[in-house]
Subunit: 249 residues, 8 copies
């Protein structure tokens, strides 16, 4: 309900074409759909340029499939995050055209090709091989939102020459996502090399005082490089989404 | 043993109707029942208006059934919280007329209808679909205590228009319970809309720095709205109980 | 802008008495006042039954006095919390009719008597003498909101007979506020004695693993008594506000 | 090797009855037995009045049985703590005369009756039914060390009359062990009633901000009663051991 | 009000010597004194063998002096803990016969000699010189409660021979208090040498991950020696009190 | 030293115009200046589009002035963050043309006008009046980097209508910075309204379980809106820098 | 690519033997191998004296085997850490000549004997039997790196005479690794006995406030002995590696 | 008292040259000096190759001077750490030949030149200018222990070329100390460049989630480079001491 529609509605009331009761109802009605266990925000696509993404954790397969059923009427692509293999199987039994990506633990339903919207390349770097699943979640998200995405995995700071080898590719990206666990040092080094925004993603890889990613998170928030902002631990999805937003700006 | 009974007892001693020994015993005796592994507080119903609620965690099915056996002699409704499906089945094998609510993980034994005591409506809102189990625990508790309860699920702050849509229903409630995980922002927004007490319930939904609900809890305790008080993480039961207390006031 | 006003406005548009432009402006306009460093929410008194309370921490004396200046045009009583003595003096120099309460660290501006709105008594208990300042903040807040408030200080659980002595007064209160530092055990014991809502307020009194009140807070959230809800550490104001809300219900 | 033995040894050297080499060896030799994966401290019984207790966590059944095999040559009673049912079964297969106590998760090998050494009674109280396993570990330990032990379970502070009912028994104990989870308030109340040392044991019973017993632990360390000292979470063994030490003093 | 007094009172009522009203009042009356900001627990001396100790933190000098004024009517010795030099001076101005111990930050008022009640010696060891103030608080407390106290300071584990030098004195103590900051290792080593109860006191001495004494506290709670119980950080008073309780047992 | 320069250098060596020794030196030499206590990164302006920003915390006024002295030869604008008033005065005594902004605690040295580089508007919102200093640091930084910046202060979620009032201005911004303390809910609500990247800045405003901004930080990282990335607590500078990077993209 | 090679390359360019293009490529090329999910750092052996060690956690068996396949072409010995039994079996199915050490959870592939490089003995002590797996990981690592390693297990501080028994062996070691869980006191005592570097390894053995090894870690970092440095919890590998580095110095 | 002396003593007893009493005394006597508030460990120099270092925190100037007085009889160099300027002045008034280093907050008393013992160079790197005081404490300690020390300050990872510039100097050091605050990334990068032991020192430089150095500490413990061991936050002294131990090995 934007300002233009508001004027039209009020003009229509002024002209007697719309009754006061109807206008009041219309002004009060908001574009979402109530299926008891969920209020599906159909307005989001309009408002935010991308439909609601289903957070799979804590939802039953029935609920996920039910929400997808309602959303697919209007949306070209639907993402579900944080779905384990068993639940995914159960969703696919109900919605066969959805595809499961086990490494990223995502379900993706595409009802057509996704055109490229982003103006430049999004580059995703990971510090280690073990960080790849989170990087993959970022990649799938950014691609689903219409971006060209490149990846460079396993270029942690303990062998700095591996990173420096990719200096050119790093400098040419429009937005960078840097995924790292353990001490989370990679974003600082990468951000120090470029004049582009860097989204840092801590991962839960590590043990002892890695605290399930907390140390990497705090290290990234303390980065001595200033062009770094951070998302939640293992939140590849959020990083991909944020990068897509920036790339569209 | 209220002050009137004390006077009556002492008068009875003064009148020689009650012996000193009996009075001493009576003054010392307290209304609970000892079944070795539990001291059942039969006095509670009288004192607090609702019988003791059995905390299921860490108790065996035998212990739960044993306590219910003693309580049902005196009580119309008995609640058991935090019971997983397997333990519930084992309790039901011993006490067949108890009903299990798997989403709320509660066992409820009703021996008759529960009259409505509360003066107004209790409204329960949840931020997401994944928060519903905790909301359900609050609902079942408040209903078992004789209240009319309404629910609105999945109205989180990322699509604020969904919440605003229910403004009238929100403003008409007597007490509100707001259930949210992740950043726990919903209680602040809801409390800002009403002049009623809001009980905020953080849930363990989330990952990374949600810390199993700790972030939502702390956010709610820091609410910039003043008509908010908070219960423990995932403590739907406590929220329902507290709301019932307020609604009865 | 309630639903009745909306109908009136739309009727007025339908009747041609209000132009479309004016109605759009009116619908968009919201009742707050912009003084650059603050958006004063004049609407709050209408919406929540009590005007905005000024959070003194982090504001300059100039800002506090400036906000009070705007608010006093409309409000009968204005509260400012978390003001140290030096800042209070500086505010009073600008607004001489405001009164400072050093123990509660509050500034209160009253422009008339405050009628009693609450239906019953609010009883405030403190575990120790050192907890009195926080209890006082709760007391001043609840009184400013039109409640009759009683207090019992220094009845901690280490000498349980002191608490039991006040059993009658405790049982007769409509809402209870229990203030405690250190191990924060008092709310559990008090709540076990009554069938009324208890607002627990942890204080920062203690040392070592009292963690500035965190232990008391967590103990209260873990209360084995169910009629307890909790506010932030040292948040006497919030407890008084919440109790007033409940007492008005 | 006490001071008398030292004199005897040196006298023996002075008298030429012991060679310098032998004396050096003897002075250097210390009374423990090396079985590669363990240095069994046979000296402990002499030094501390009770043999080494085997900490079962992180040891294999082979290692536990191996250590017991060596210890049983010298000791009348052997305790193993923190053994789950599966590992216990595997130990019993190797050492059939050991007895498993599943609630306390202890293995106990007795090779004779244990005489009562303690001068008074040790009284163990638990706040809830769910705390019984930890209380049982304390009980078994103190009994194995030759003490008379009494127990009162499920007398939490939410129904304070249950506790007051046992006032006489509480006042007559020589040492008290108080076991509680959740808010851990019981030790403060009990300690306030007696002039005896109270050992407080926090348990991991609870959820949310009980933090697996941390809140109860911190509450107990902050007790406003001064005759309280605390052991680790769920450390019934340590409490029983400490109480036995005090009761023997 | 013990069970004998209860019988006497009831007999007196039965005999008509005491009126029902008087008996009711008498049963309800509890032995504490209300001076508004404090409920002085005169009963404590009777119940616990030592009068209430005043916790100085968060109390004004007026409040401390006021409480002492009431207590001195009945008590031979009064302790006030956690009083800084400035506040102490202000109390002494009001109560000249009180003595301030700056290292222990205690005020002590003695109205006569304190006879020795304890059966054995209490030995206090400190790991470092910087831990002495906390050790001193324990010493003053235990002495005020009628115990013979010995001290050995600066025998930390980095030079284990210093500790072993005092082996005989250590073995002869009835109760031991071990005070240590930093890694808090001393209580484990000392407790391993004796068959007596050890009260461990963590201090806030250290920096970085000493966390103001938290690391020492946790280390002590994790002691591999079983005859160790722990009090709060820097709580020399509590350790002295607990040791006195044990020594009196 | 980019790839073109490398080719030129090597060509020059191939042509004999540059000696091997000189080339080796040149390849090894990197563009920073060593003034003992600092290695000034003159290369940064070239590499990152903005000169090194001086982190004032922990540096002496002498060091700050010394670094500025070297930088001003090459740079048009120099920022120093986290400088308190006293240190600022001492720096200004050495470098009179630097300007101090006390609310943002920044020193800024401008040697000319700063042209606007950013393509759109950066909008900074703050939840409360007390958050303004951090917002101001973001504003000064983004402006110094050549952006047009707008601000809306004190639009916290407790009076959501104030925020909705600015919906149009919010929707038109290219990048948004949202500054909030306490429960940190504002970024989620704002991000839910727009399809632009939102940089969330937690502030240390609050008390108790605000943990100096930690709760706000964690709430923001848990945002249920996906177009949010976060910087360190009170890091207005970093937010302004990151927003400038995005706005330049 | 060391400084000598650089000179040779540049001389070759100067002499016309190497084209500019080839030199540029050569300077840019760095010695690692890209197998998509990993950048294998073949340069490490040269640079650090030991090949890259594979961190098994979070990697699939396919990835581990794939990396080994590439490394074995060049390396004599390959270590894989943090591999559970199931994954190990799956790797061995692909790479039959690798050997699994279940206690240390390591896979080791040796393609020849490992000569002794270290100058002295590395001595590994463990406080308890339960700490042996971590000690074993340290042992296997140090041996694989060419050191002579000795071990003494189960010499915790609760029976200090066991430790003192090995004083000579302890004093003769060149580097010491001390492994301990619970209160982590052993490194302080051992370090106090020697003039050699001590690497302290906290283990996750313990419960309650052992916090999975955190307490031991912090205790070790707070050691009152100065010749102690610490590695991550359960990081036997890191300790072995560091000790090997020191022993080679 | 080494094994040779023991033999000599026992031989002397066997020969009748030493009486049994004298030998017993001699065996029991240990080489430390008792000055009431301290047990000075004169044995340490012999045992550990360097005298006891005085930890200044929590000690009075009198105590520090008193300990120095006793130590200077035997020792060539005495270090006191963690002394603020005011306390230093007070110590110097008592011991005029001691020198204060304000940046490192150390007092050093030298009674002669210190010969170089170390075999190679110790190199100290700091990430930022603000980390220099901690680096200086390491430097002064290592130099006092007879080492040649080099320093490179302000080479943080945000401008990686500055670090790479010093590659040769870094590779030539025997032991490296790397000092960093904020995200603590520098040790990982440096350790990845060398085959030498690296001692990492976290500093408390930073704000927000730097947690006073905790984030840097945890990052360093999680280093993906294996030749890193860590000391406590701001513990430059410990790093210098440990490096000296390694350099002497």
């Amino acid at each position: 309900m934007d300002i233009i529609s508001l004027h039209q509605l009020l003009t229509s009331v002024a002209d007697g074409k719309t009754s006061v009761e109807d206008a009041a109802t219309s002004l009060a009605r908001l574009p979402f759909e109530n299926i008891d266990y969920a209020r599906i925000d159909h307005h989001r696509s309009l408002r935010k340029g991308f439909p609601e993404v289903i957070f799979g954790q804590g939802k039953t397969a029935e609920q996920i499939a039910g929400i997808m059923e309602k959303m697919r009427v209007q949306e070209n692509v639907i993402l579900v995050t944080r779905v384990d293999a068993e639940k995914a199987e159960s969703v696919i039994a109900r919605t066969p055209d959805v595809k499961y990506h086990p490494d990223a633990r995502m379900l993706i339903l595409k009802q057509g090709d996704i055109p490229i919207h982003g103006r430049g390349n999004i580059l995703i770097l990971s510090a280690g091989t073990s960080d790849i699943p989170v990087a993959r979640e970022a990649q799938l998200t950014a691609e689903a939102m219409g971006n060209h995405v490149e990846t460079i995995f396993d270029v942690g700071v303990a062998g700095i020459h591996r990173l420096l080898h990719y200096r050119k590719q790093i400098e040419e990206a429009t937005v960078l996502i840097v995924v790292a666990g353990m001490e989370g040092a990679l974003p600082s080094v990468v951000a120090g090399m470029v004049s582009r925004p860097v989204i840092a993603v801590p991962t839960s890889i590590g043990y002892g005082v890695s605290f399930g990613g907390l140390t990497a998170l705090f290290a990234m928030l303390n980065s001595c490089s200033s062009n770094v902002a951070v998302v939640n631990i293992d939140n590849g999805f959020g990083a991909g989404y944020m990068a897509a937003m920036i790339n569209r700006t």
